[in-house]
């Protein structure tokens, strides 16, 4: 009798993401994953149709989880400063808690799987963030701007800091570890730059 084993499923997901992040999509195969997890190839094929199905399913699950963390306790009706702070807090917490997942989703974004995986996430994301920025513009908290300009200003600095942290180095190879001081000091500058 075949039964689902939650512990094994978690191991498979984690190893798959690690392998995909380290070696890329081309070199990855279900066979290699089975060996790395010390389980039979057949077991993996019971759960997933093929390599593409496996990558897409794991991507969707991780994406769904990320969305739930990013929007935890967030309300588009919040004041701009409060809402953006919550977004930073949640995004930072997720990237620290799930570094592999975060790198995996980042590499999926530019891959052929990106469209399928992110299609189901972006609608919800866009709607929430559009509502949030619309409210901020209406209340005169920020100027109206393109989505790209907003994102590049509001979140890219956070992602740069996390990248430095993950690499353990910042500019010119200087050793770097993230601290809440650096996080919120950067946030304050971002907020100042966006606020009217």
């Amino acid at each position: 009798m075949r039964t689902r084993n939650a512990g094994k499923e978690l191991l498979v997901k984690q190893r798959a993401m690690e392998m995909l992040v380290a070696d890329g999509f081309e070199g990855f195969s279900v066979n290699k994953l089975a060996k790395a997890c010390d389980i039979s190839v057949a077991t993996l094929y019971i759960y997933y149709k093929d390599k593409d199905d496996l990558i897409t399913k794991i991507g969707m699950e991780e994406g769904k989880y990320m969305t739930s963390v990013v929007f935890r306790d967030f309300d588009p009706e919040m004041s701009f400063a409060e809402g953006l702070r919550k977004q930073w807090e949640n995004r930072f917490a997720w990237m620290m808690q799930k570094p592999t997942s975060s790198l995996f989703l980042e590499s999926l974004r530019s891959s052929s799987y990106g469209e399928t995986v992110f299609k189901c996430m972006t609608d919800n994301f866009k709607e929430m963030m559009e509502q949030f920025t619309k409210n901020a513009v209406r209340r005169g908290e920020i100027n109206k701007m393109s989505l790209e300009a907003f994102w590049a200003t509001a979140f890219a600095p956070l992602y740069t800091l996390v990248r430095f942290h993950n690499e353990g180095r910042s500019i010119g190879g200087k050793p770097f570890t993230m601290s809440s001081k650096v996080l919120w000091e950067t946030f304050d500058v971002v907020l100042k730059g966006l606020a009217k």
Binding site: S29, V30, I46, D50
Partner: protein, 75 residues
């Protein structure tokens, strides 16, 4: 959609190319007992995966063998 895990059969085959896949396609698409199937052409074992509530492992192997392809249970 959650599938009944007991209904999934997986095999190692030599269905290696798209042309091979097309050859078995007709046979598997039209089989009354087969609900869904696919071959992972990227995998070293060319895994054939069949979803069928009724087909037995031996029947599936015989079916594929009859059309000139190797097929054995993937363990």
């Amino acid at each position: 959609m959650e599938q009944n895990l007991q209904h999934i059969l997986v095999f190692k085959t030599n269905i290696k190319t798209e042309a091979d896949r097309q050859t078995v396609k007709k046979l598997l698409d039209n089989h009354a007992c087969i609900r869904q199937w696919n071959v992972d052409l990227h995998d070293i074992d060319c895994v054939l995966r069949i979803v069928s509530p009724r087909l037995s492992t031996a029947e599936a192997i015989a079916l594929v063998n009859r059309h000139g392809y190797e097929c054995s249970e993937l363990l």
